[in-house]
Symmetry: C2
Subunit: 193 residues, 2 copies
């Protein structure tokens, strides 16, 4: 029986410096205006949007869907920067499926992976190049760039995971990362006080 | 409901230079004597074993088993070298489960990822640092180090995949990689002639 086209191996070439790989299936850009609800300083959000609405992060995707499987690759590049005192970060999401984990591999930059369950467990992992984190199913996850260069990470997951952004958008994570006296500092999220 | 211990996030620290990460769950060493059937020059195999049985490659594992999932991490470091004219390589295996793919990410060195189906389709991917390959389910896979330094790659898969080595051990892959006139060259496997 002849194989279907989608059942052949595929390779892409990843650039450790830029975080981009080729070929891609699609890419997504997130600007400050895409994350209005996520950053705590609303005045800073508004003025940054007026001043040009800078890029916060990009994701590059390839979903390796075959007849029998759906493993996927995503790489993310978060720019260095802040909205007010809060560091640039990803929107963050839960997986929709209850049994879908994800592996994140930090290849460049520094920051934190924030994770939280619906029951209120919170865990933050410090990231430097080479940190590989396993995100168990049912933990929301967000990455924060606290460094001075782009933060790049590689993710593997399954398309079956699905993504839901609404809860994180409404409630945020338990803690935010802000710059205080020149240092990345955890503070309690205003919405949780 | 309190989370079980295995349902919390875990991070490890990977060294891009050595290919090792810490903490690990386990590691495996493969020497020439573990791969007697795999290399085509049996005289070279015997003399290398007598001369000290050198290390060919190592794998470092962490299986992130949770209540609902079983994603796993494996990193492999293949030494540079040859048995006779044939480059050092991994044993190679099929997954036991029919629906289990794998993603391989070459972070150091150069070589080839060889893949083959039971129906005889063969595909080889040239690897340099940054090559990320998707291995669909039901394709046997082997990595060959054709370079002068260790080849390091990071794998993500599921523990449900399982591994079966017997077929590859008996039949090999359609093609072998040997050094000819100083260059990595594909030759038909003796067992397939």
């Amino acid at each position: 029986m002849a194989l279907k086209k989608e059942d052949y191996p595929i390779s892409v070439q990843f650039d450790f410096n830029t975080g981009v790989f080729e070929p891609q299936e699609k890419s997504v850009e997130r600007k400050v205006s895409d994350m209005v609800k996520m950053f705590h300083d609303k005045t800073a959000v508004e003025s940054m949007i007026k001043a040009g609405d800078p890029l916060v992060y990009e994701i590059f995707y390839y979903g390796f869907k075959t007849s029998a499987s759906d493993m996927a690759l995503g790489t993310t590049r978060i720019q260095p920067g802040k909205v007010g005192d809060e560091y640039y970060m990803t929107k963050g999401h839960f997986h929709e499926a209850f049994d879908q984990p994800e592996i994140y591999f930090c290849v460049k930059g520094e920051g934190y992976l924030l994770m939280e369950t619906r029951e209120g467990e919170f865990q933050a992992e410090k990231w430097t190049p080479g940190t590989i984190s396993h995100i168990p199913p049912m933990w929301a996850h967000r990455v924060v760039n606290t460094g001075k260069e782009p933060l790049v990470f590689v993710a593997t997951y399954h398309l079956a995971a699905g993504h839901t952004y609404t809860e994180v958008e409404e409630k945020g994570f338990l803690k935010c990362l802000v710059e205080k006296d020149g240092k990345a500092t955890f503070v309690l999220n205003d919405k949780r006080k």
